[in-house]
Symmetry: D2
């Protein structure tokens, strides 16, 4: 049998654990973006106001969101438009965590696959992975899980979000 232990997993990158009480620079950067940018976007403000950043490292962001009536469809499950919105938002955050940029360009395409539901009162965990951030294009994968027993549980939705990022790079100091 081939020994798979030599097969390093390239993705998803794991969040750097900290034994101290300090947050990573990416974590602080994403929290700042949530504070300063969410209120200026009506749809994000409407749906994402209670989002909480759980951790972040280069190209990797994890957040949690408690679900309320605003997130539901007429059947009482998380609305497909809500998860699409989350994938839109988290793709930008994952890119911003790459190099602490504040802008993340414009969307090229978003793809969402719907796997299971979640209800009011549930909490979801949202994971964004920027797999590649180039000079023109950035590619991200986003997964949404239900939180079960305090931990990441079943997949609710997976998606991809590709952005055109030219011009959104962080400015070099003079």
């Amino acid at each position: 049998m081939v020994d798979l232990s030599s097969t390093a997993t390239a993705r998803p990158k794991s969040i750097t654990m900290s034994t101290s009480t300090e947050k990573s620079s990416e974590h602080l950067h994403i929290e700042r973006l949530v504070e300063t940018k969410l209120p200026g976007s009506p749809i994000y403000a409407f749906l994402l106001t209670p989002v909480r950043i759980v951790g972040a490292s280069k190209g990797h962001v994890v957040a949690r969101l408690p679900l309320s009536e605003n997130h539901m469809n007429s059947m009482g499950s998380i609305h497909g438009s809500v998860t699409a919105t989350i994938i839109d938002w988290m793709g930008g955050m994952a890119i911003s965590s790459w190099d602490l940029r504040t802008k993340s360009g414009v969307s090229v395409d978003i793809h969402v696959t719907y796997q299971s539901g979640a209800k009011t009162g549930d909490e979801i965990e949202i994971e964004g992975i920027a797999e590649r951030v180039g000079g023109s294009l950035a590619f991200t994968n986003i997964n949404i899980f239900k939180v079960e027993d305090g931990k990441r549980g079943r997949v609710v939705v997976t998606g991809t979000h590709t952005k055109f990022v030219k011009g959104s790079e962080p400015q070099k100091a003079a």
Copy 2:
């Protein structure tokens, strides 16, 4: 040269024109769904309240929506989450126009490609085409155009929305 005039275009189906003032049964059905269902879905109510059905036939719905601040991103252009929401909604409407069903099942996947922007004060035209509505799956294409000089102008977004429709068929009368 091959004569292309024999190549009937299967899609998009054209809206049946009416020289009278009467609306089609599909048109009335979709208007009723907008009236009765939008208010029960917080995200649809937030974004789609001013939507107006322009016309409908079997598997084909056309609507218009004036854009306001609620639809914008932080750069002052139509928000990617808003167009994703429109594609989610219109996929269901196109399926409902197929056979006047009131439910249209659950989403399997949504794909959106972003081609150009639109601003506050612009009006967009949304076209939904249900290409196939089977016993298990229904496939739809949705196009969003900017209205220019009162007519359909440049493409803003195109998308697809596939739904699992088993159990959403109209009930047969007893």
Copy 3:
């Protein structure tokens, strides 16, 4: 009722009909690409050798392909990999028809939805529409239909193909 006759359809663009026996410059250009480029690509040569260009105008190409055993899956229907290959190829052709460029850049993403099947002996019609060809990105829609009674029949597959086209523009004469 709103008069829909004022709603010009922006897409798909119709193939310019010719009453003469002459082919359009786009038609000749795409035929030349098929002749010169298909043989250099093993997978295109394997699957697309018998393809025939039916017509072309700016941003719009129509082709037909008779299906043989090479196109089938183990269940005797057109293989999902074959239709994905066709969408890959036709996206490039639609972009090339935009301004008679010979290159069409590199793929960003391809999305395919599978609606119905086709068998050995059937002929399919492939329609490519370049909706927007910009300096960086080009967006295309591709539809595959079964030919029935010599005409475009039911949809087999629809897809999108987005390419990064920077540097593929036609060279200006010196």
Copy 4:
């Protein structure tokens, strides 16, 4: 700081390592499918004949493929149609590894994002993850990496493949 160590990663599932020389039942099952089914599919036989299964567990398959001229485009990089074909194939294998079924239904949609290239002489690693296999639909994610220094290196392509699996379940013994 929130302790992320309590956040179990639901995906991708890791291949069960074996310290013995024995292959898992999933590994043997997928190898058998490669032997018996690839030859009957012309496009798979053309492109995937040298594929080698590296490991498999429930819902997770890893394979490697050395790249030859047949896999290249006219620019000397891995062809977008080839990676789309690999995503088509691997989605089915990941589903088959779920419960040792031999059939995996029909495709609903395939989405591919293209991130980087690979050349003749390179080897790629293909990872298929069946995230959910239900009674009607199965959802898979597929990643293709370049093998670098014998290990999984940079991402070449990521994709999703959703299939309608009703009727493909393993037969219960009488």
